[in-house]
């Protein structure tokens, strides 16, 4: 398919296969590259990424000042702006840069899995009632506001103190915090670095799902492998997956700081191949301010998913007439797909403090890392990979090999393969809803046209993406879930 304004640059000729699932774009492939590019993929995905210009974007990211080791891309790679989706880059904290484009507009967009002790057999008759209740209880779509009516000071406290502040208000459980990255509070958040505009866009959106690819899905665990039991997963189990982010607050923070850093590029003497890669030294005023604002958005996103979890538990309690604790509704883990984090990694035998940008990529640490909750010390950190609405989702765990190969990162989902316009052209929302229902997947959507954009055929085969991650050693499969009910914004 020929797309207007898009041309393949034929980067494939410059790519060298390292092993079955690893491909290298040498640093000589493009002027200005400071490190090589590394893509975890099979040939089919690699070719698709080239046609998409995503390989060009991997090379562009390799030009960032202070980047170490390689510009990486996960197997769900596809064209983004600046960074490809599925892009990972680590820059030196001392002498390196932070780039809002390496995080994306939906800061801390992420996913969590809420477990239950219910089996599919026990729950299936009540599923229609449950989905209808969830559909009216979890706000979604454009123009909807959250159910929490918060004063400005309260929202500021959520931004700076994160999910513990929400839990202290009785929304969510204390134990949930241990199942979140940074225990639900990203350090260094400073609401004074968040614009009035960002504040206005986000203030009524705590506990809202949003639209686009965001969803709430009820799934059944279909297949497990060790150490699934240690994670509380078993075959036939009903689980709930939530995919949402920092809503208008995060989008505006990204917009604001791309502007700020665009204006300061000259000051730092940076010349970049793509304007969406604007950046500033980590230790500059612009860099520190962005990180303080980004942390606010990360905390907001975790609060958002925590509030949604609270509404989900309430719905289960009503429908199953039992307490959420009795229903075993523990959070397996809450992960972010879009974030920059200061982490220690060993590169060429040296321990370095790095700013690891993950854009459409997930942290996948082994249990030995101090960041991983103690309860996952033996298993590795859970990684939650949503599929599309019609296919399976997965739980993986982080590996030691991921630390060595990808700064402890893996894929974040299936990754799109078809544009939204093309998807809408091929698929009608009403037909898709019927098709999914024939497959045994109940659907509630704010807008059916939005549903069509997210049709399964618009995505890569998530199984192939997960298999490459496993083949490359950057994470390990533990469970596979099939969707039985989907709620879309």
């Amino acid at each position: 398919m020929r797309r207007k304004g898009v041309r393949s640059v034929g980067f494939l000729d410059k790519v060298r296969q390292v092993d079955e699932y690893m491909w290298e774009i040498p640093a000589e492939a493009q002027e200005g590259m400071r490190v090589p590019g590394i893509v975890f993929a099979d040939r089919e995905i690699l070719e698709k990424a080239d046609g998409d210009n995503a390989l060009q974007q991997v090379a562009n990211v390799a030009c960032l000042p202070g980047i170490v080791k390689a510009s990486l891309a996960m197997p769900d790679i596809h064209w983004g702006y600046g960074f490809p989706i599925g892009g990972v880059a680590a820059t030196l904290v001392e002498g390196g840069v932070v780039s809002p484009g390496g995080v994306g507009y939906d800061i801390s967009c992420g996913v969590r899995l809420v477990l239950t002790s219910l089996t599919w057999e026990e729950a299936k008759e009540k599923l229609p009632e449950l989905l209808d209740l969830l559909n009216t209880s979890v706000p979604k779509g454009l123009g909807t506001k959250g159910r929490l009516h918060l004063e400005r000071g309260e929202v500021e406290r959520l931004m700076s103190k994160g999910a513990p502040e929400l839990v202290a208000r009785g929304i969510g459980w204390e134990e949930d915090l241990e199942a979140m990255e940074e225990q639900g509070c990203y350090p260094g958040a400073d609401p004074s670095k968040v614009s009035e505009r960002a504040f206005a866009r986000g203030k009524d959106q705590v506990g809202t799902l949003g639209s686009g690819n965001h969803f709430l899905e009820i799934q059944v665990v279909e297949e497990t492998r060790p150490p699934a039991d240690k994670l509380g997963l078993f075959e036939g189990q009903l689980v709930v997956m939530v995919h949402s982010g920092s809503r208008g607050l995060g989008h505006q923070i990204c917009t604001d700081y791309i502007e700020v850093m665009g204006a300061s590029l000259k000051k730092y003497g940076y010349s970049l191949p793509d304007r969406q890669l604007v950046c500033a030294p980590v230790e500059s005023r612009e860099g520190r301010d962005y990180l303080a604002a980004m942390a606010c958005a990360a905390n907001f996103a975790m609060c958002n998913r925590e509030a949604i979890t609270h509404w989900i538990r309430e719905c289960f309690e009503k429908v199953f007439r039992a307490g959420a604790r009795n229903l075993g509704m523990h959070v397996l883990y809450d992960i972010s797909h879009n974030l920059a984090k200061m982490e220690e990694h060993v590169v060429d035998g040296k321990r370095l403090t790095l700013m690891v940008h993950r854009k459409g990529a997930t942290r996948a640490f082994p249990g030995s890392r101090p960041e991983v909750p103690a309860k996952y010390a033996d298993t590795g950190q859970p990684v939650i990979i949503p599929g599309d609405m019609g296919s399976h989702s997965y739980v993986l765990v982080g590996t030691r090999e991921a630390l060595e190969k990808s700064f402890g990162s893996t894929c974040h989902g299936a990754g799109r393969t078809m544009s939204r316009k093309a998807a809408k052209k091929q698929v009608r929302g009403e037909e898709l809803k019927r098709r999914l229902e024939r497959m045994g997947i109940m659907v509630r959507a704010a807008q059916l046209s939005g549903l069509a954009e997210e049709a399964p055929e618009a995505y890569k085969d998530v199984r192939a993406v997960v298999e490459i991650c496993e083949g490359a050693g950057i994470s390990r499969r533990v469970a596979r879930m099939r969707p039985v009910a989907v709620m879309k914004g």
Binding site: M1, R3, K4, G5, V6, D52, H78, W79, G80, Y81, G82, I85, G104, Y105, D106, G141, L142, G143, T144, R197, A200, R201, G210, S211, G212, G248, H251, Q252, C254, T255, I258, E259, G262, A263, D274, R275, Q276, V278, R416, T417, M418, S419, R420, K421, A422, A446, Q447, S449, G450, E453, G489
Partner: protein, 150 residues
């Protein structure tokens, strides 16, 4: 999808078209002046959010933006409209731009309060991006191209 046409001294001109992008979506808008291109681009963006044909032009909302350069101005103008949709709950069915200078745009949107039940909303837009951003003029036709994060 191709947007409505507008005749203004010299025949009709297609106002905008949707650009394909794997993950996101863009608008290429046209005008006989920079002002028309800005208005058409805004209409194109609105068409990604809702069915612009379902919006009644009941009220006029003044929209202004300032920026350091013409392309930045286009992003700011669209960001301003997005803010009005998301925070103030506006649904716009059309736009007019009075003046675009080097660092300032002044115009207005025609519409009414957003009613998701009546306006056939198709989705949210997170932001206009600088990716493949273009504002140019050739043979008297202005082109404004923006990719949106959706």
């Amino acid at each position: 999808m191709v947007g409505g046409k507008r005749g203004r001294g010299g025949g009709e001109l297609k106002r905008f078209e949707v650009i394909e992008h794997t993950a996101d979506v863009g608008i290429r808008a046209y005008g006989r002046s920079r002002e028309e291109a800005f208005a058409s681009c805004a209409l194109g963006m609105m068409s990604l959010i809702l069915d612009v044909g379902s919006v009644e032009p009941r009220e006029r909302k003044d929209i202004r933006a300032r920026a350091s350069g013409p392309e930045e101005l286009l992003v700011r103008w669209l960001s301003e409209i997005l803010f009005l949709v998301e925070v103030e709950g506006w649904a716009f069915g059309d736009f007019e731009v009075r003046e675009v200078t080097g660092d300032r745009v002044e115009g207005w949107g025609l519409g009414e309060p957003l009613d998701p039940a009546r306006h056939k909303v198709s989705g949210e837009i997170k932001a206009p991006t600088y990716h493949m951003l273009q504002l140019s003029e050739e043979n008297g036709t202005w082109v404004a191209q923006v990719i949106f994060d959706v």
